[in-house]
C-alpha cells in the first residue's frame, strides 16, 4: 500500500484528480485491483461507487487482471478500411477469446482502440507497446508465435 499512498499523496496538493490517480494505479498493477480501489475510497473519503463510475466509464481502465502480453488492435477508420476487422477476427480465433478478455493461461489480453493516429501503418496491432504496421491475417500468426515464445 506504500506505492498507493505515494500516488495519492502526489495529487493531494491540488484538487484530487481521480482519473490521474487511477492512471497511476493501473500503470503500477496493469489493472485496477478491487482491494486497492476500496483502500483509495477510504483514504480519500470518496464513495466507492464514484470511483467505480469513473473506472467503468473510461475505456482505458480495466477491472480485471491483464495477461502477460497486451495485444491491442487499432480499429480506427483507416485501419478499418484496410482490413482491421479481419485481423481482429483472426486474433480472437487464434487466442480463443473475445476483445476485452484474457486467455486462460494469462498470456494474452486482447483489446481494441479507436485510433492510434499512425494511420500510414494501417492496420496496426500493438503488442506490449511495440507497433506492428500493415498487419495482415497471415502475419498475425507469426506475431503471436513470436510473443508466445517469450513466455516463461
Amino acid at each position: 500500500m506504500q506505492k498507493v499512498n505515494k500516488i495519492i499523496r502526489q495529487y493531494k496538493e491540488r484538487e484530487i484528480d481521480l482519473i490521474q490517480v487511477l492512471h497511476n494505479i493501473q500503470n503500477e498493477y496493469s489493472y485496477l485491483p478491487k482491494d486497492i480501489l476500496e483502500y483509495i475510497s477510504k483514504a480519500l473519503r470518496m464513495p466507492l461507487s464514484k470511483i467505480y463510475s469513473i473506472a467503468t466509464f473510461y475505456a482505458a481502465f480495466s477491472l480485471t487482471p491483464r495477461g502477460k502480453h497486451l495485444c491491442t488492435v487499432c480499429l480506427g477508420t483507416a485501419c478499418h478500411v484496410r482490413g482491421a476487422p479481419a485481423v481482429l477476427n483472426r486474433l480472437e480465433e487464434k487466442l480463443g477469446i473475445k476483445s476485452g478478455e484474457t486467455t486462460e493461461d494469462s498470456q494474452f489480453t486482447l483489446e481494441t482502440v479507436n485510433c492510434l493516429g499512425a494511420c500510414a501503418l494501417a492496420p496496426i496491432v500493438v503488442i506490449d507497446g511495440e507497433y506492428h504496421g500493415q498487419t495482415t491475417v497471415d502475419k498475425v500468426d507469426k506475431l503471436l508465435e513470436k510473443y508466445a515464445k517469450e513466455k516463461r
Partner: protein, 611 residues
C-alpha cells in the same frame, strides 16, 4: 534577451531523422543509432549531426531522413541502408539515389523535398517547424523565432490589442465547429468572474485524424507559446493541456517542453520580467471520445465522468470549476504565435472569404501518400487527393472521401472540384471536423462504412440523453440487418427518420452529428443500400453475409497454400489438383484469398449477381 542561436555552428551537414509515432514504429530510432555509429566510424562526428525531429508528415514513406542544408529527401531508410547513405552522401558528396522518392508510375527519383508533389502543394504555417527541429530542445524552437511572439505581446501590446489582432485575422477554431477564436477570447475576457482558465483540447478522438498528435510531438512549444499569448489576452494564470492517453509520445514531449519552458523563465512567475504569471498542467485522457466535447472535457479535467451538459451557459462564462474557461484546440493554439508575428492582415490574405489561413488534413485510407498535409483553405478536394495524395493505389477508382470523423459525412467523386472550407463541406452534408480525410476506393462498401461510424458513436455515446443513447442503437440494429441480408423495404426511410430526430434532439455535438455518416451515404450511395436490401448483394464485396469465397478451377494449380491455412478445414483437394471450398464450413475469414499466390490469383470473392 532571447537571441537566435547559431544552431548549425561547426557542422557542415545535418541529417534530420523523423521521430514521429509513424516513423518510430518503423524503427527510426534504430536507424538513428546506426547512422550515428557509422558517422563516428567514418570519423565524421564533428562535421555531421543526426537530429531526431517531429513528424515530417509523409508517414507512408517512413522512416524519413532529410539531409540539410540541401533538403535532400530520403525515404524508407532502414539500418541496412545506413552504410550506403553515409558512403554516398557524406563521403562522396552525391545524393544517394536508391533511397530517393520515386513517384508512382515514374522512373525518375526526385532528390529535393520541395520538388516532391506531396510537399510542393502544401503551405506550412502550423507545421512550420515540422521536421526541422528537435522538439525536445527548446533552443531549437527559439532559434526559429520561437517565443518572439510572446515577447512582442508582453512588452508591446495590451490584451485588448491582442484580441483585436486575432479577431482581425479571422482565425476560426480548428477543432471542428469553427467558432471565431478572437470572439471567444473576448467573451472570456469580458466575464467578470475570477479566476479564469484556458484549456488546450488535445483529445483528438476522431479516428483517422492525427494532426494534433503531430503538432504536440513535433512542435510542442508552438502550442505553449500560443497558450501564453491567449492567457495574457484573456487574463488568466492557469492553463491545462488535455492529451489522449493513446498518444504516449505526445504526452512525453509536452512534459519535456513544459519543463524546459519553466527553466527558461517562459512559464511560471514574472515571465520575461514583465510581472505576468502563467503555468500549465498536463491532464491525460482515459479513452473516451465524448471528452473532445468541451463541457465533457471540463468534467474530465475536474476528475469526473466525462459527460457533457447543456449549453448555455458556455464555458467562457461557467467552465472549469464553474469559472470562465476558454477552450481551443491544439491546431488553433499553434496558429497564434505566427499571427502575432506576421500580422493579422497577412493571415487573412490566405484562404477563402469566411475561412482564413490553412488547415491540416490527415490523408489516410486508400491513398498512395498517407500523411499529414497543411494547405490553404479553399484548395480543391481534387488537388488534395490527387496532386498531394498521389491518387488511389493499384489503379482503383476513387469513390468518396470521408471528412470530419464520426460526425462528418462522405463526399462523393462528383464533388472533387469542391473548394474546401467550413461552409462548403457543410453544404454537401459533411463537416470540417478536426480534418481527417479517409479516402475510399471502389472496394469499400458504403453501408459498411456507415455502420462502422455509427457503431463507433453508439459505443462512445455517454448515455446521458435518450436520442443519442437509443437512437444510435436503433440505427445500428437496422444497419446490422441490412449488411446481414435481412434488410426490409422501408429501412432506408426509417434510418433517415431516426437520423433526423437524433440530430435534432441530442444534447451535445456527438449525438447531433452522429447520423451524418449514414445520412450522407444514403444521399450519395442509395443504390448500394438498395442492392443490400433488395438484391441481397454487396457490390463492393465487403459484407460477409452477402459474399462467398470460391476457387476458380481454371486458375488453381493445387499449391495447397489455401488448404493449409484454412482455419476450419473447409478447403479440400490434393496437391497439384484443383481445390474446392465447402461453403457450409467456410467462415469467410478471407485468409485463403490472402495466401493464394498472386501469380495464380485463383481465390475470388463473389456476391449474388456479380461474378
Amino acid at each position: 534577451m532571447l537571441k537566435k542561436k547559431d544552431k548549425a555552428k561547426g557542422y557542415r551537414l545535418d541529417l534530420l531523422i523523423c521521430a514521429g509515432t509513424g516513423c518510430v514504429s518503423n524503427r527510426s530510432f534504430v536507424v538513428k543509432e546506426a547512422l550515428e555509429k557509422e558517422i563516428a566510424r567514418r570519423g565524421l562526428q564533428d562535421e555531421v549531426r543526426v537530429i531526431a525531429t517531429g513528424c515530417q508528415g509523409f508517414c507512408e514513406r517512413g522512416p524519413i531522413v532529410i539531409a540539410q542544408p540541401d533538403a535532400i529527401f530520403y525515404q524508407r531508410v532502414t539500418e541496412k541502408d545506413v552504410p550506403y547513405l553515409v558512403e554516398e552522401h557524406l563521403i562522396k558528396g552525391r545524393p544517394a539515389k536508391k533511397l530517393m522518392y520515386v513517384p508512382e508510375k515514374d522512373a525518375l527519383p526526385i532528390p529535393k523535398m520541395s520538388d516532391i508533389g506531396f510537399f510542393k502543394h502544401q503551405r506550412l504555417i502550423v507545421l512550420r517547424n515540422r521536421g526541422r527541429l528537435d522538439p525536445e530542445n527548446i533552443e531549437e524552437y527559439i532559434a526559429f523565432d520561437g517565443y518572439q511572439a510572446v515577447q512582442k505581446v508582453l512588452t508591446l501590446m495590451k490584451p485588448e490589442q491582442v484580441i483585436a489582432e486575432i479577431k482581425k485575422s479571422g482565425l476560426r477554431g480548428r477543432g471542428g465547429a469553427g467558432f471565431l477564436t478572437g470572439v471567444k477570447w473576448e467573451l472570456c475576457r469580458a466575464s467578470t468572474d475570477h479566476p479564469k482558465y484556458i484549456i488546450c483540447n488535445g483529445d483528438e478522438g476522431d479516428p483517422g485524424a492525427f494532426m494534433d498528435r503531430s503538432v504536440l510531438e513535433a512542435d510542442p512549444h508552438s502550442v505553449i507559446e500560443g497558450m501564453l499569448i491567449g492567457a495574457y489576452a484573456i487574463g488568466t494564470q492557469k492553463g491545462f493541456i488535455y492529451v489522449r492517453k493513446e498518444y504516449p509520445l505526445a504526452v512525453k514531449r509536452v512534459h519535456i517542453a513544459l519543463k524546459q519552458a519553466i527553466e527558461y523563465g517562459l512559464l511560471g512567475e514574472d515571465i520575461l520580467g514583465t510581472g505576468f504569471n502563467f503555468s500549465i498542467d498536463v491532464v491525460q485522457g482515459a479513452g473516451a471520445f465524448v471528452c473532445g466535447e468541451e463541457t465533457a472535457l471540463i468534467s474530465a479535467i475536474e476528475g469526473k465522468v466525462g459527460r457533457p451538459r447543456t449549453r448555455p451557459p458556455y464555458p467562457v462564462e461557467k467552465g472549469l470549476w464553474g469559472k470562465p474557461t476558454n477552450i481551443n484546440n491544439v491546431e488553433t493554439w499553434a496558429n497564434i504565435p505566427v499571427i502575432i508575428l506576421r500580422g493579422a492582415d497577412w493571415f487573412a490574405s490566405l484562404g477563402t472569404e469566411k475561412s482564413k489561413g490553412t488547415k491540416i488534413f490527415s490523408l489516410v485510407g486508400k491513398i498512395n501518400n498517407t500523411g499529414l498535409v497543411e494547405v490553404p483553405m479553399g484548395i480543391k478536394l481534387r488537388e488534395i487527393i490527387f496532386d498531394i495524395g498521389g491518387g488511389i493505389p493499384n489503379d482503383k477508382e476513387f469513390k468518396a472521401v470521408q471528412t470530419g470523423g464520426p460526425s462528418g459525412g462522405c463526399v462523393p467523386k462528383e464533388h472533387l472540384e469542391l473548394p474546401i472550407d467550413y461552409e462548403s463541406l457543410s453544404a454537401v452534408g459533411s463537416m470540417m471536423g478536426s480534418g481527417g480525410m479517409i479516402v475510399m476506393d471502389e472496394d469499400i462498401c458504403m453501408v459498411d462504412v456507415a455502420r462502422y461510424f455509427l457503431n463507433f458513436t453508439l459505443q462512445e455515446s455517454c448515455g446521458k440523453c435518450v436520442p443519442c443513447r437509443l437512437g444510435t442503437k436503433q440505427m445500428v440494429e437496422i444497419l446490422n440487418r441490412i449488411v446481414e441480408g435481412n434488410g426490409k423495404e422501408d429501412d432506408i426511410e426509417l434510418l433517415e427518420e431516426i437520423g433526423k430526430n437524433v440530430k435534432l434532439a441530442s444534447l451535445c455535438g456527438l449525438g447531433q452529428t452522429a447520423p451524418n455518416p449514414v445520412l450522407t451515404t444514403i444521399r450519395y450511395f442509395k443504390n448500394e443500400y438498395i442492392a443490400h436490401i433488395k438484391e441481397k448483394k454487396c457490390p463492393a464485396l465487403v459484407c460477409k453475409a452477402l459474399i462467398s469465397y470460391i476457387i476458380d478451377p481454371d486458375l488453381c494449380t493445387g499449391c495447397v497454400a489455401c488448404a493449409k491455412n484454412c482455419p476450419t478445414k473447409a478447403i479440400s483437394g490434393e496437391p497439384r489438383k484443383v481445390h474446392k471450398i465447402d461453403q457450409t464450413k467456410c467462415i469467410k475469414c478471407g485468409i485463403c484469398l490472402t495466401v493464394c499466390p498472386p501469380k495464380f490469383n485463383a481465390v475470388k470473392k463473389v456476391t449474388p449477381g456479380v461474378v
